[in-house]
């Protein structure tokens, strides 16, 4: 085929595709609704990561259903400056103007600070937000920080009480301060109830792919089970699926993270450390609706019921009532300030 003929053919194909789309694809109806408008920008994992991005997405859905808000979101591709996505939402005007823009993930922290100053009439919130040094409180920026170490302490205590071998494991995703918090809290929980228990710990890698590597998770967990661990807690996003696979294979127990992960492996998920990003987002939306949104840091932990552990009819057989009662008592002690959970 000659170059010219190919060019003509390609132009014709494109014209046909454009015309086809123009004629047969209906224009999407603009999202109507007088309610408050909320936009979310997700972290690299995207809204279907079965982990905390998905929790945030569930929060948006919940707010849409129950509070009648209009939600929109962006999932940035890797390598794109995240600030661009946030700004695209913040800069909307007229009927599209958003009342609340949420960045999910610690990576947004400094971008949120810049944008909150740039768009003083839009409310911003950051999940897992870590303020930059020197950044003061902005009236239109809420930073959500979860005390994951408190929840991790409780599942650590549960593991320490339920282990038969006196060896338990921890699998982290990427080794960053945020995930380290889970490990430190977990270790403290194990040590609190079982001072002579050993904790094996491993991380899946040095970049965000460490949160999406189930085969590696299975390998790490397998090695720990071989070294006599009988319960493994993971804080590793999708990598945790591999931890559950290893548990299933050996008939051992594992502990889920972020959301209740019982359904992924009903044989083995003893409990989960839940981090209620969804409820935290709904709380924020309520504040915006009530016009009570105030900037500043929000620390959410056991006392606020935004982290915790799962004990319900599903995992009853894996988590003995005696253990549940002891862990609940510990939870009360933490809330009362009698136990200080370390986080670093």
């Amino acid at each position: 085929m000659s170059v010219r003929r190919l060019l003509i053919l390609l132009v014709a194909i494109n014209a046909a595709l454009f015309a086809g789309g123009w004629l047969f694809v209906p224009a999407p109806a603009p999202k109507a609704g007088a309610g408050v408008r909320v936009g979310i920008v997700f972290d690299v994992g995207g809204k279907n990561d079965k982990s905390f991005n998905e929790q945030a997405y569930n929060g948006l859905r919940l707010a849409e259903r129950e509070l009648g808000v209009v939600g929109t979101f962006i999932e940035p591709t890797e390598g794109v400056p995240r600030e661009t996505a946030l700004r695209a939402l913040a800069a909307r005007t007229g009927d599209d103007k958003l009342d609340l823009v949420v960045g999910v993930g610690w990576v947004f922290s400094s971008d949120l600070e810049r944008l909150a100053q740039l768009f003083p009439d839009v409310n911003f919130a950051g999940v897992d937000y870590a303020p930059s040094s020197g950044a003061g409180t902005l009236p239109n920026l809420v930073g959500l920080r979860f005390r994951e170490h408190e929840g991790s302490f409780l599942v650590g205590a549960a593991a320490g009480l339920a282990t038969h071998t006196k060896v338990v494991g921890f699998v982290g995703g990427m080794q960053i301060p945020l995930i380290k918090k889970f490990e430190v809290g977990y270790r403290a929980g194990v040590a609190h109830v079982c001072p002579d228990c050993r904790v094996l710990a491993a991380y899946a890698g040095s970049d965000p792919r460490a949160f999406s590597n189930p085969p590696l998770g299975q390998q790490l967990a397998g090695a720990m089970y071989d070294d006599d661990a009988d319960i493994i807690y993971h804080a590793s996003g999708k990598t945790g699926d591999g931890v559950f696979a290893a548990a299933r294979r050996r008939g051992q127990r594992a502990i889920g993270v972020d959301s209740d992960q019982f359904a992924i492996a009903p044989c083995c998920v003893m409990t989960s450390m839940v981090k209620r990003v969804d409820l935290a987002i709904v709380d924020l939306v309520r504040e915006v609706i009530a016009k009570k949104f105030r900037g500043g840091m929000r620390e959410l932990g056991l006392a606020e019921q935004r982290v915790g552990f799962v004990a319900d009819e599903h995992n009853r057989l894996l988590l003995p009532p005696a253990v549940v009662n002891k862990v609940r008592a510990l939870s009360d002690e933490i809330i009362a300030g009698k136990i200080q959970v370390p986080w670093q």
Binding site: M1, S2, V3, L6, L7, L10, V11, I13, N14, L17, F18, G20, G21, W22, V25, A27, P28, G46, T72, F73, I74, E75, P76, T77, E78, G79, V80, P81, E83, T84, A85, R87, A88, A91, W106, V107, S109, S110, L118, A130, P131, S132, S133, G134, M174, Q175, I176, P177, L178, K180, K181, S206, D207, P208, Q344
Partner: protein
């Protein structure tokens, strides 16, 4: 020249068609998506600036890969060299006294960025020249090494306040922004254009460039012509790494003003696409970087219309289309003399 334009036209049209098919599959009108992409990128100063910002890093990494490629070396380690540049540039920048004036701070940080990248790549070149270690293997392995070292140093020394960000660099080391609606595009754009001009001058106007391209064409012939192939390999890799490291100037000195883990992740790999798309010519690399930058910035502008996987796929489709169209045009034109008459 005409050959390049024809190949580009075919590649663009083919990518457009593939993209349109994908859009129809997910149920949106292609005209709407492409239109929104172009409109939002070119009518909004901020989006235009973000496109140029993305293109700046991509162009430097593309130039890095292209330079090595012309010397017959496939440097797929731009990713790690850039990460080394980010680490060195931000650490040194933060260590400088806060009052350091710009005329000192900026060159020092630029040198750190380029030096660190050059050091990593120079090692690869040295291994190739003295031990015959294949540069693809050693450079990709060094990507992991640099990522690991950088995260380890971050956890041990650099991260502040429970985040994955380090202390801010001295204000004097910050590159000025170019305005454009408050976007991140900064003076590193000028540095990049100067680097492209320098690469072009070296490549086309100096004996050193001649030697380096001779090695790329045929190392054995170059050697018998009296060129030290080993020397060229080490120097070309070092220069290549320095260019990739320089992209840290755009990201650290022009944008984040601090160390951040994963800053610029993936840019080094996209730089390979920029080099291949740009046919290793400095001007071509710049155009390719602009195109990839447009796909990134424009992809974000249509994020509500199409899933992000589609825009990621498009970047791959463009590279495939170019890779396929260039030999096609070359062959068609070789056959063509009678046909064209």
């Amino acid at each position: 020249m005409k050959r390049e334009l024809q190949a580009a036209a075919i590649a663009v049209l083919a990518s457009l068609a593939v993209g349109s098919v994908l859009m129809l599959v997910v149920g949106v009108s292609p005209v709407r998506v492409w239109g929104t992409m172009v409109e939002r990128t070119f009518t909004d100063e901020y989006n235009l600036g973000q496109m140029l910002f993305a293109a700046t890093s991509l162009a430097l990494c593309g130039l890095a890969v292209a330079l090595a490629l012309e010397a017959g070396l496939f440097n797929i380690g731009a990713e790690g060299q850039l990460a080394a540049g980010v680490l060195a540039c931000s650490t040194l920048g933060a260590a400088l006294p806060a009052g350091t004036p710009a005329p000192i701070a900026i060159p020092v940080c630029l040198a750190a960025a380029a030096g660190a990248g050059g050091l990593v790549a120079g090692g690869v070149g040295l291994l190739k020249a003295t031990r015959g270690a294949h540069e693809v293997i050693s450079s990709i392995m060094l990507n992991f090494v640099v990522a690991g070292v950088s995260l380890w140093l971050g956890n041990e020394l650099l991260f502040v306040g429970g985040a994955t960000t380090g202390a801010p660099i001295a204000p004097g080391a910050e590159l000025p922004h170019l305005g454009l609606g408050g976007s991140s595009v900064n003076a590193a754009l000028a540095i990049t254009l100067a680097a492209a001009a320098a690469v072009w001058w070296l490549r086309d106007r100096t004996t050193w460039g001649e030697a380096w391209r001779a090695v790329g064409r045929d190392p054995a012939a170059a050697r018998s012509a009296g060129i030290s192939v080993e020397r060229v390999q080490v120097l070309a890799m070092t220069a290549s790494g320095a260019l990739a490291g320089l992209a840290a100037a755009n990201l650290v000195m022009g944008y984040k003003h601090a160390f951040e883990d994963g800053l610029g992740r993936n840019t080094g790999f996209l730089g390979i696409s920029a080099a291949l798309l740009g046919r290793s010519h400095p001007a071509g690399v710049i155009i390719a970087a602009l195109l990839l930058g447009f796909l990134q910035a424009g992809g974000l502008a249509v994020a509500e219309l199409v899933p992000k996987e589609l825009t990621e796929m498009l970047q791959g489709v463009v590279v495939l289309a170019v890779a396929a169209s260039v030999p096609f045009v070359a062959r068609a034109r070789a056959r063509a003399p009678k046909e064209a008459a």
